[in-house]
Amino acid sequence: MTISPVGRLEGTVLPAPVLDVSGLTISYRDQNGTRTAVHGIDFSVAPGEVVALVGESGSGKSSTAQAIIGLLPENGRLESGSIRLNQQDIAGWPQKRLDGIRGSVVSLVPQDPGNSLNPVKTIGRQVAEILIIHGKASGAVADARAIELLERVGLNQPALRAKQYPHELSGGMKQRVLIAIAIALKPSLIIADEPTSALDVTVQKHILDLIDELRRETGTAVLLVTHDLGVAADRSDRLIVLKQGKIQEQGRTADILANPQSAYTQRLLADAPSLNIRQRRVAAVATASQGEASDDIIIVEGLVQDFSLGGKDKGLRALDDVSFRVRRGTTHALVGESGSGKTTTIRTVAALQKPTSGKVIVDGLDLSAPPRETLRLLRKKIQLVYQNPFGSLDPRQTIAAIVEEPLLNFEPVPRAKRAEIVASTIEKVGLPLDVLQRRPHALSGGQRQRVAIARALVLDPQILILDEAVSALDVTVQAQILALLDTLQRDLGLTYLFVSHDLAVVRQISDTVSVLNGGKIVESGAVEDVFERPQSHYARELIDAIPGKKYPSLAGQSLSTHSGNIR
């Protein structure tokens, strides 16, 4: 196997592509008839090459990947076009014939390692299975080979792991197992469909490194499907930008990043936080930086939170001596990976649960022993915006009722006045007034998140807690919501407690940051200090793992592209 050099020159004689897709059109049938998801796209992947397929939700990137491996959902249909895999057009093949090449010529690293392994079969069996299906080995030989493969993908104690069940492994380990399955028969092409979007950032880096390393070793080509431009920039030789089932732009990754041609790609690049590591805007902090120490609106001291697991067990210490302060009018970020305690912290600050011990003072109100009335006063000062705007809005209420509801909980406001407040709040978050009579399901994700923000603002609070509030959104929508939050902070003097696993976003919008790991704060300080000169080992590792580092020169450029707020 020859490894194709990265950055091939135009005009050289190319080896025959592993994958050659032309005129691919995919449609889905549903209640409303037939909807075309992919409109006649053409691209190819050369041997040993990494091609990234990037796009936002609804771009058709996953449909394309599924079509190539012949696993479109039941209501999906390959309308026309050809998919040539090693010169063979497999587009019209029946499932039975495709079974022969799946796993051996083309294999899959799936999106969601947590649910991608059979919960009632051992890891070893699931790896050995691919060898058995294709008649490459059986019995003890297959089992031994499975252990070798597990070792190859960097699992410690592979013989033990082979006997374990999926739930006994962490997400990163499961993804390694799935990679072991994907490489078992040395296929020509691996389709990696959002292989790391469900994983923490440090794990993401290790998994991507592993895929890179295995690819170099075997000369396998990789089609990397991702929504994360940072990942695509770091890992791919070529980039294909998809929008609503059409290719916007394709070419060498470095070329596109340096000189994007289509307006959509330009906007995508400008909005991707990971490609825009730059100094934060200064205005909102200006006043705060001179503020006195007494102007700390949130004071958390020695917070401890234990959860009992039932019975006489010792229980789980979710937070261990957490302390931080937030100055009025600034944004403080809590960052950490899953299980770090960031959600527990904000739930305690929002008085949704009582701390085991420690002190929380919000704008002078001590929450450690709050009388009922204090709690209700607090509700007017502090509001929460959740990650998932699908779950945080009651599906049966109209938008008007959702935004109005908090007003009904306090001293009566006349109906006309309420309607007025609701309308002005909806306008404040940049939504047209005609959404008021609709219900949440009729709105897009970004619009729903604006409604959630409007509901939080309607009581005129001083603090907004943003729990991963932009994490579920597409990057362009995310940029719009971040811009909105920025504007609101300046206009209304809000204080934000911003929780996120996405360090690039945190860097973009916060003034100060606390890094949480295993329920403890391992580092905190001003954003620039922590990001530029991390003191703790963990913070350094976390910051190193942020994708999009490969093209540092872009940081300066994208500043100019990112002119103004896109609404």
């Binding site: 209640q31 039941e74 649910n115 697991l309 949704l352 959740y386 009651d394 509801e405 908090p406 009581l459």
Partner: protein
């Protein structure tokens, strides 16, 4: 840990639809993110459903205005017309006393349907009240109510209703009470699990977070969102109650003769299975059609609300 908690198991065992019996626990654990449903049962016109509505409409009309459908008397037999096979004159034949079977079926609808309705109303109100109390208050109240529900579920429904019939005596009303009582536990369980799952949702937390009091949140969010699936379950229970009541009628514990209750009609026809097949076949087919239709409509309600 949570998987093992018996209280979390959600089995609506009295439902004729076994899908309600199943424990939600194992699936819920795995299905943390809902996969894009790739279902393709979206026929624009559903002839089955239209047919079901048609059957139910007729059954209801039978119950409300039986006189419109037949001119014979349901209780007085015609002399010389005993055990006649279906014909133009008696289109489902006659019984041993010369009564027109079709007429008896039409007049029987009111007994079978009101009985079933009464039974479901008992289960719905008592069960919903218990479920809402258990689910929204939680703590030891929840614990006690759900343990009682567990106990009620441990006694097979038929035996439970027979025990109540022994206590209250035979008769249409008592049979309906007995059947209704057996469904209280499953209603309570369904309602509680709905309330609990709505309570865990972020929009309820957000409602508390914006200063909502317990009762305001219960009224605005928890009840409306919990009751949606209860309605579908109620429809399903009507079908189940019709079956259970006809069983009690067949065993002779329901309405006394000569009431033309459907189960009783089958019991009476039993003595003539060798000679007058229509006497058992026709009432059974009517009952099956009505129950099938109720279940079909319930399924449609459930789907529309999802």
């Amino acid at each position: 840990m949570t998987i093992l908690e018996a209280g979390e198991r959600h089995r609506n065992i009295d439902s004729p639809n076994p899908l309600d019996w199943i424990s939600a626990a194992p699936a819920a654990e795995v299905a943390t993110r809902a996969p894009a449903k790739a279902r393709s049962y979206t026929l624009p016109i559903q002839p089955g459903l239209i047919f079901a509505y048609f059957i139910l409409a007729i059954a209801l009309l039978w119950a409300v205005a039986p006189g419109l459908f037949t001119s014979y008397d349901p209780v007085q037999g015609l002399p010389g017309q005993q055990l006649k096979a279906p014909s133009a004159l008696h289109f489902l034949g006659t019984d041993a006393l010369g009564r027109d079977l079709y007429t008896r079926l039409v007049y029987g609808a009111v007994h079978s349907l009101t009985g079933a309705l009464a039974a479901v109303v008992i289960g719905l109100f008592a069960g919903t009240a218990l479920g809402v109390i258990a689910g929204s208050i939680g703590g030891w109240v929840d614990e006690i109510i759900m343990r009682v529900v567990d106990v009620l579920l441990s006694i097979p429904a038929l035996l439970l209703s027979l025990s109540i019939i022994i206590l209250l005596g035979f008769g249409t009303v008592n049979a309906a009470i007995a059947v209704g009582f057996t469904s209280i536990a499953s209603f309570a369980r369904l309602v509680r699990s709905e309330v609990v799952s709505v309570r865990r949702s972020e929009y309820v937390e957000a409602a508390f977070g914006s200063g909502g009091t317990f009762f305001k949140v219960l009224w605005r969010h928890v009840l409306p969102n919990s009751l949606t699936s209860v309605i579908a379950f109620t429809a399903l229970q009507v079908g189940s109650a019709i079956l259970q009541l006809s069983t009690l009628g067949f065993l002779g514990y329901g309405a006394p003769p000569p009431t033309p209750e459907w189960g009783l009609l089958i019991a009476e026809g039993r003595n003539y299975i060798a000679t007058a097949w229509w006497l058992t076949a026709a009432p059974g087919i009517v009952a099956v059609l009505v129950v099938l239709s109720v279940n079909r409509v319930s399924q449609a309600i459930g789907k529309a609300q999802r």
